[in-house]
Symmetry: C2
Subunit: 396 residues, 2 copies
């Protein structure tokens, strides 16, 4: 037996990661009952990689097998071709980011959970309900977490008004996971202004930016002053179907300084100790997803996910069930009918409709009594889910 | 400006990661002087991926583009097919590891630097000279580091004799990076016994196990008692040319317990918060490298790296220069001739021979006055390097 103690922070976590637990319960149900379920739980992709991405990967793989063209360790921070493609993506949206402000990672989970490593023990400000990784990784880091609660009154778009003014690491995700709600320009500006006023770092998770529409910022850098207080995390998972490939990026603007240190230098140094980069083949895949053809070929899946979310929304609206999201987001967030708790509703939905969703309580205290439906499904699966909802007593 | 302070641990690190610094100096030399250099510095691969790996990746990529066969998020801890292939690799060497004791990662750097996250602040015991990542990540974690010095007397195979007896996280790498020295069965057993006696966790880095030969354990689990005190890190980087693909594994035996916790459960929980797995395509590539055909096709590169190291060794022997490694390792470790410091020798070698190596001092205090040559090069490059050594005044 090892006498070095386990990190005590682990005891403050739930036993299982939320989606591990959802998977476990689903498996148990299937083992006991047989048959199939429709999975609207974890936000995993429902469609294969588009041809342009597949072609780029095959080409890059053949290069890796070629004596004159193979690649070894990727350059620190990522290949210039991908960083430039991402900078180009921002520029199209009117946001100027330099390629050397971009750092390639293997997923927004890794990036968002590791970025706080470069800061000392800190106060962390997190909206609730929230992607569990921000809170769990803050707990593991030994940071103190303050939650700003979302609720029906603020339509799950809490503002920093009333929050004690001191320097925080702020996590913000918009369009939001899990609520699907998205800040408009003014709502996001309130957060940026709060960060500037308090000397906070605003860590903006833009993993769902492909779903943002007119009037909704797809990047925090659309807001004045953000370059002095924000870093941004982007992902290919949902926009280009990369959940099974693993590629992401972090934007750390030159103006972002932490006392005497440039934040980008700290992040670079942290990554040089704990990360050896993303495969050349995957970086070429990501580059292809950002090409003109890539944008054309990745679009339809995003549209289907949106349509699915819209179909769920239409049903809930017809039944008078309180809901948000689903328009600028693949997620629909509802108030559980009949005053059911999140887990009661999860169980009822699984046994009654054979549909898996995610209990809102898994995303934080403010999520109790609410439930997340993911639009990441085929059109057929989503339509069948709606038919089952229609037949079910749960929504009456 | 952000008022959240930077983690104070960063100020205890060197400004740049060792190999970043070597690359910077090399670039500076090339900018000022033009021409080319032979790179025997960073241990990067010199050959393309073997055909069996390329074929497996193309096949997996086409699956990812196929509506019936694409994959989303990889299963936590890795795909069973790869875990079973790795278990099979151990079994061939007479070591029984269960597939569910194996966790797939994106590189031994990530795995070795992150594994200590599951323990509380600890005393870390590290041999010196050493792969800088163990020490740097320990510093970032806020752990206290004790070094056990390698030297000419112990042939850079320090033993735990004389070390204060208390529970440590012990990092051990054999065949060793940077010294190329490899523990025999008895030498490694001393470390395992020390870990058992002190309640330490021995974190064994087997990244160079493909170079271990007869009489040298290629896994710490060849030693009695290791399952109660050891975890092991393996990598495809050097054995199968995966530096540009990124795949690794960690073995955490069921018997490994940390007071009331199973260490594997802690590692699984840590990874569920901070990592989302390795691409399906890369895991298929790794599986292919472990197949019969993969072993046959990966072998020649390893043999060339060994031959290169042997050619360097023959030269140093002929010149009466003290050296170790180079037989069971791709690395040769020499005492700098003429009492030069590691950095003086680096500079002399770069300007005099246009050969890049790695200053021993970059691997720790005990490395001062020593120097690492990497056999990761083509045969032609290694032969040309030896010719330049022969003509140089540095070795006279």
């Amino acid at each position: 037996m090892i006498k070095v103690p386990a990190a005590r922070e682990f005891s403050a976590l739930e036993k299982n990661y939320l989606f591990t637990e959802v998977r476990r319960k689903t498996q148990k149900f299937l083992t006991e009952n047989g048959g199939e379920v429709i999975n609207l739980g974890v936000g995993d992709v429902a469609f294969p990689l588009p041809p342009v991405v597949v072609e780029a990967m095959v080409k890059a793989t053949l290069e890796m097998g070629d004596n004159a063209r193979f690649k070894g360790y990727p350059p620190e921070g990522g290949y210039p071709f991908l960083k430039e493609a991402i900078a180009g993506r921002y520029l199209k949206r009117g946001v100027k980011i330099d390629a050397d402000e971009i750092f390639i990672g293997d997923g927004a989970k890794s990036d968002t959970s590791s970025f706080p490593d470069i800061f000392g023990r800190a106060d962390v400000l997190i909206t609730d309900p929230v992607y569990p990784v921000y809170a769990d990784s803050s707990v593991l880091r030994g940071n103190r977490v303050t939650f700003v609660r979302g609720n029906k009154q603020n339509r799950f778009l809490p503002s920093p008004r009333g929050v004690e003014k001191k320097p925080y690491l702020i996590f913000l995700c918009s369009p939001n996971n899990p609520s699907g709600a998205a800040y408009g320009h003014d709502g996001l500006k309130e957060w940026v202004d709060f960060a500037l006023e308090t000397g906070s770092a605003l860590l903006f998770d833009a993993a769902y930016s492909a779903f943002a529409g007119v009037g909704v910022p797809s990047s925090v850098f659309e807001i004045d002053g953000a370059r002095e207080c924000c870093a941004e995390f982007g992902s290919f998972s949902k926009s280009a179907g990369f959940t099974g490939l693993r590629c992401s990026w972090t934007v750390v603007p030159k103006e972002l300084k932490c006392r005497k240190s440039q934040v980008s230098a700290l992040w670079k140094r942290r990554q040089s100790v704990k990360f050896n980069g993303v495969s050349y083949v995957i970086q070429r895949a990501a580059e292809a997803a950002l090409s003109e053809r890539g944008i054309t070929e990745c679009g339809p899946a995003v549209e289907i996910y949106k349509k699915n979310a819209a179909a769920f929304t239409a049903f809930f609206k017809a039944r008078g069930i309180w809901h948000t999201g689903g328009e600028l987001s693949p997620y629909v967030w509802i108030e559980c009918p009949k005053n059911l708790s999140s887990v009661e509703f999860f169980n009822g939905l699984l046994s009654g409709c054979r549909v898996v969703g995610t209990p809102g309580s898994g995303f934080g205290k403010a999520g109790e009594g609410f439930f997340r439906f993911s639009g990441f499904a085929t059109e057929n699966a989503a339509a069948e889910a709606v038919r089952r909802f229609e037949r079910s007593d749960l929504f009456r």
